[in-house]
Symmetry: C2
């Protein structure tokens, strides 16, 4: 009986982690171990600490990481809560039963921080000039879950309440990109990336234990945790190959070097694989040449040989299944490529596509003279939401839809982004969403969907929000695409990310307008109607080097750093990279977000309900200013103290004198105040505002990129 | 008997130091302790070492400093030698009995390195941004004798064979200049500066032990050690005050703030205190006002009170004798000032003068209406070589002339520079030199004498050489003051320093011409006729920040560093300062000196005998080139292989095409070679030289600042 009870009660991995670290602290050991002072937004004050002039702190790492748990996280722990569950389960979301609430819609009131665990807590702790896997102190210098706990106080200060992690699953290093390989080349959904294991816990903890401790820590701080799952593609060295070779596409090894996305004449470049293009696709000579490179899976080509190979493989340690297949069968996994016809991108050599159907697509089967050709990767088979077959790969679908429940049950995660969800059959997507919500009705889904026009489809599929295209629109302030994006997105049936950069795009601080632009957008995003504020790791310190050059990149995007910078040309998604946490402006955005996010959270319902929003116009539409009005619903009709103005000079280079038109806002709210209180400005403290004109509109003199929040 | 023998046998402190370090090595301790790679010119290769990209090495300091002794120094040790004696005693200089050899003349063939122990091995070993007295590892970050041992291999590589140290005696911190105080304010001749003690040896070694170990290490490497002694001035808080208050000048404490060098109308500014000026001096009202501030020493003012005060002082720990005197008597020590009349320099608040005579000067006594005025500091009493009294301060003179024998007997030093020797009575100087040479006939003396015209006087007094004024002349290449200095100095009766910078002057690399100038001069100085090559610590890495702004300084001399440099505005003589050992050109001069000094030492007698020297002219005297010819004496009359040319383009900015006139050189040597071998050039490797004109003169195309050494 005692045994049973101890099994059902969840053990707190965070408390265990605290004890492990505590036991390893030896106050006599001398550590010359450096962390950026930004990692100490929680006032660590160990007697051994040395503060340098340039923003590094020298600490005893055991003490330091122990103390953040002990003195910052645990005081928020409540005795009766089980922090290994999702935050909605812990706190029992009261909205879950309202009619217009879709489970997971808590995201509408969240502020999201996008983190790459491997990168965001990378640091040259021993200052040898390299990010070692094992440094002078046998500690890891790339990022880990344990170290990320020390970053939480900074995120909390900025108002972050949701942490979205780039993939954390095991990935393959075969044909890897860069120094470390991309975490998007997942080789096993159910294993975590072993590189995220922190040696600071020794053998006493697994990386899984560390992730659980991390999620608990987030939950104690009322922060949610979301993962990134990738059901459409998989590593070319997936662990699934051994048991399920027929789930993959195969080509002759000899044709590997000639393998590329086939050109289709007469359709233009980089076009969606719409059905009207399919006749032209199947008329292309290159397409037929491409199809001819494919083969049936090795277990179909020669079942006996396959059986022997697998037996052989299981006997060997550290053998590579794909290399063995290449040698024995002359076959290899076919690399993936873009679903767009005539895209300029080369093949994605580290990943392949799953075979979603076991037969050829219904819509294009007619073009195959020989129906018995082996399964092949092409624009139609990639886009399996549009081009379905008759025989769903049920066993694969079951597995893919079991991934999220596994992470829910084991780690208590709160939501997920679905990578390339737009290329999944809707039936599969339904399975994925349903299984997750059966498990946790308030589980949030984010669609990897950039186009506003697809928001409705996404919402209908069960997604809570789409990513949207803020990162291309917001920085283009002079073209007023910022205005269009921020105003028009309120008409969408679900929110989009209010963001100016992501891990795939240029950094705001590296755009025209630099830090002024980044600061203005980062603050305005906190108030964008129907926007979910989103901060990309590094954005808060005005990082200029992108993590990837996937989207909206300029030709020199990879080279934003000084040539003498040790990370010149490095991309976090593939390489060893540490964010420039020592930048002298490193506390600027955090300090500003601290103020702004407090205003937002004090009036969260006002700012996140679209019905309260009134756009603010200026003298004429060409002015480089933008303004949001928000009416406090319960105070409607009051003559004062019921209206917020959030106004920015969208020009990062020039000051502006302008006049904010408050007619509509006053009409809607009843507000007649001729005096206001400025709650926040980039350049000023709080003060009273009197400068209204004869029509009670507000005269403004705004510095470049200045944002003001005013209460009337 | 056993006891007696163990007392007479000298124990090697270097071997003891090695053992102390060896015993403290713990290979399990992790050290993140950094040294510049320049400190490892001896190929340390500890398995724990991490090499950074920027020139720092991370090492276990116990291992590192142990290994330089063990693997670099000790292999040069010969069993039968006692390295605690001077090198001349160890090796028995055969020249000592030649007629024209003055004991100490070995300096004529030396290459001298001027080092300031406190500064030259300062390093932020734990990289906390500060030069701590006790760093993370409880080790010292300012310089020490122990650390300087690791610098010897670099000096050896550069051809250095004589180390001249700025003062290493205990100095006072009263009214100290800068962060650390100047080592020129000596408070006790017989104690070493306790700040030079290295905590790496713990309690097992005193700073005296460490200095002895250092001298032994130098001697094992055939390097001599010279000290800087300062017999004319002393700290205002000298340890001698307690026993000998009457050796000092006293003023009323109340007049301290009005104390300054008195103006003398009608003689001009900054003039030597020649006898013809004395009437005017003693007509000046300010002079009389100045004299009126002086008092008799406290023991004369009130002998009983003095006796009580001394008793009281001896009872207290850490009491300040001068503060007690100030309180009890209202008297304080009179600060020193320049011996030049109407000099602009303010008083030297940290030092005073010794009273060399116990009566007023013979020559100026007549001007005193009241012969019983207290002793006073004035231009005549300062310049006690010119203005003697009848009553020499014999007890003081004995003490001052015992300083060098003390250092000879205790440490085995090889020579000394006498600070302000020109202001000492000749009888005292004779005592100092005689006692030292009685002890060690080959002991070298360097006069702090900048004027060439005083070289003869200095030589007659027993000095081996004077400092000279190379540091003002050499950098002025465009005015051909370099030419004048280098050619004319050969007529002097003793050598001068062949140098472009000292610890008191601007850095060569900070002069017009920068690194090109510094490199050209540093190399040419190796061959200057009648010059003793002299390198100022930091010069070898193109340091730009001076150690002091005493001589030939420009108005902004103190601010040669970038404003963001952590040592911006710091002067090594007073402040915490580390030489910029990480400069990317840090190995350039050392590598060049390695080659050049080898050529010099292989033909040392040729290059250091003035009789072998023939100046090389060019088309006309205005050309920015300089050339030295040296004839190998024993090969005179041979038609080839008997002549060296050392030629430089003295213009650091522009290349030059010129023609070296070899007529005189060929005449003197008999050389008729029409082919030569270039042994060295800044820009090229070794090669054959053929480019002679019809008169067998040499055509040259020289890059800016290029130096070439050619053998014909």
């Amino acid at each position: 009986m005692a045994n049973k009870s101890s099994k059902t009660k969840e053990i707190s991995k965070l408390l265990e982690l605290k004890d492990i670290l505590s036991n390893k602290v030896n106050q006599n050991d001398v550590f010359n171990y450096s962390v950026p002072d930004l990692w100490n937004a929680w006032d660590y004050n160990g007697s051994e600490m040395v503060k340098t002039d340039w923003g590094e702190l020298l600490v005893n790492p055991y003490n330091f990481y122990h103390e953040v748990i002990n003195s910052y996280i645990l005081p928020s722990k409540k005795a009766d809560k089980d922090y290994t569950k999702s935050l909605s389960k812990i706190n029992k979301n009261s909205k879950i039963d309202s009619e217009d609430y879709l489970g997971g819609d808590w995201i509408k009131q969240s502020i999201v921080y996008s983190i790459m665990i491997r990168t965001s807590t990378s640091w040259d702790h021993d200052r040898t000039g390299d990010l070692e896997i094992e440094n002078l102190y046998s500690l890891k210098e790339t990022g880990t879950f344990v170290k990320t706990i020390a970053l939480l106080p900074l995120l909390k200060k900025m108002g972050i309440d949701t942490i979205y992690m780039l993939p954390i699953s095991k990935f393959s290093l075969k044909d890897k990109k860069g120094e470390l390989g991309s975490p998007y080349g997942v080789s096993n959904f159910f294993d975590l990336d072993p590189n995220l294991k922190d040696p600071i816990t020794g053998d006493e903890f697994t990386v899984e234990d560390e992730f659980r401790a991390f999620v608990e820590a987030c939950h104690m701080l009322d922060m949610r945790v979301m993962i990134d799952i990738i059901p459409r593609t998989n590593s070319v060295e997936s662990d699934l190959i051994v048991d399920h070779p027929e789930w993959f596409y195969w080509i002759e090894k000899d044709s590997y070097n000639d393998y590329f996305p086939p050109m289709v004449p007469g359709v233009g470049s980089t076009v969606s694989p719409k059905k009207q293009y399919m006749p032209k696709v199947y008329q292309s000579e290159q397409v037929w040449d491409h199809i001819s490179k494919f083969s049936f899976a090795p277990n179909i080509v020669d079942p006996n040989k396959w059986e022997d190979l697998v037996k052989d493989y299981l006997k060997k340690e550290n053998a590579s299944i794909i290399e063995m297949i290449e040698e024995a069968f002359g076959l290899t996994i076919a690399p993936a490529f873009s679903d767009h016809i005539n895209d300029v991108q080369p093949p994605w050599t580290d990943v392949t596509f799953f075979r979603m159907y076991l037969d050829h697509p219904n819509e294009t089967r007619e073009y195959l003279k020989d129906k018995s050709v082996p399964p092949y990767i092409l624009f139609d088979t990639i886009k399996s939401n549009l081009y379905k077959g008759d025989q769903p790969n049920n066993e694969l679908w079951e597995l893919l839809s079991d991934v999220i429940p596994y992470y829910q049950n084991k780690y208590g995660i709160d939501g997920a982004r679905i990578d390339m969800g737009h290329a999944l059959p809707s039936e599969l997507l339904n399975m994925i969403i349903k299984k997750a919500r059966d498990n946790d009705p308030d589980f949030c889904f984010i669609a990897e969907e950039l186009e506003a026009e697809n928001a409705e489809t996404a919402r209908n599929l069960g997604y809570n929000m789409i990513i949207g295209n803020g990162f291309t629109e917001e920085p283009r302030t002079y073209e007023h695409r910022l205005h269009a994006f921020m105003y028009d997105s309120r008409n969408l049936p679900c929110p989009v990310f209010a963001c100016g950069e992501t891990h795939d795009t240029p950094r705001l601080a590296a755009r025209e307008g630099g830090r002024n632009l980044s600061k203005m957008l980062t603050i305005m995003n906190m108030f964008m109607p129907n926007g979910v504020p989103f901060i990309n790791s590094g954005q808060e310190v005005y990082e200029t080097q992108p993590m990837n050059t996937g989207l909206d990149s300029r030709p020199n995007e990879q080279y934003m750093l000084d040539q003498n910078d040790r990370y010149y040309g490095k991309l976090a998604l593939f390489d060893k990279f540490a964010i420039h946490y020592l930048n002298h402006m490193r506390w600027d955005l955090a300090d500003n977000l601290d103020k702004v996010s407090k205003i937002r959270s004090q009036h969260l319902d006002t700012f996140t309900n679209l019905e309260n929003f009134v756009p603010i116009g200026f003298e004429h539409p060409g002015i480089n200013a933008i303004g949001f009005g928000y009416v406090e619903a319960l105070k409607k009709g009051q003559e004062s103290d019921n209206v917020f103005l959030v106004i920015a000079n969208t020009d990062p280079h020039n000051e502006t004198h302008t006049n904010a038109n408050l007619q509509e806002l006053r009409k809607v709210s009843g507000n007649q105040a001729k005096q206001g209180r400025q709650l926040y400005s980039i350049h000023e403290g709080e003060r009273e505002i009197f400068d209204f004109d004869h029509s009670w509109n507000l005269n403004l003199h705004l510095q470049p990129g200045e944002v003001r929040i005013i209460k009337l």
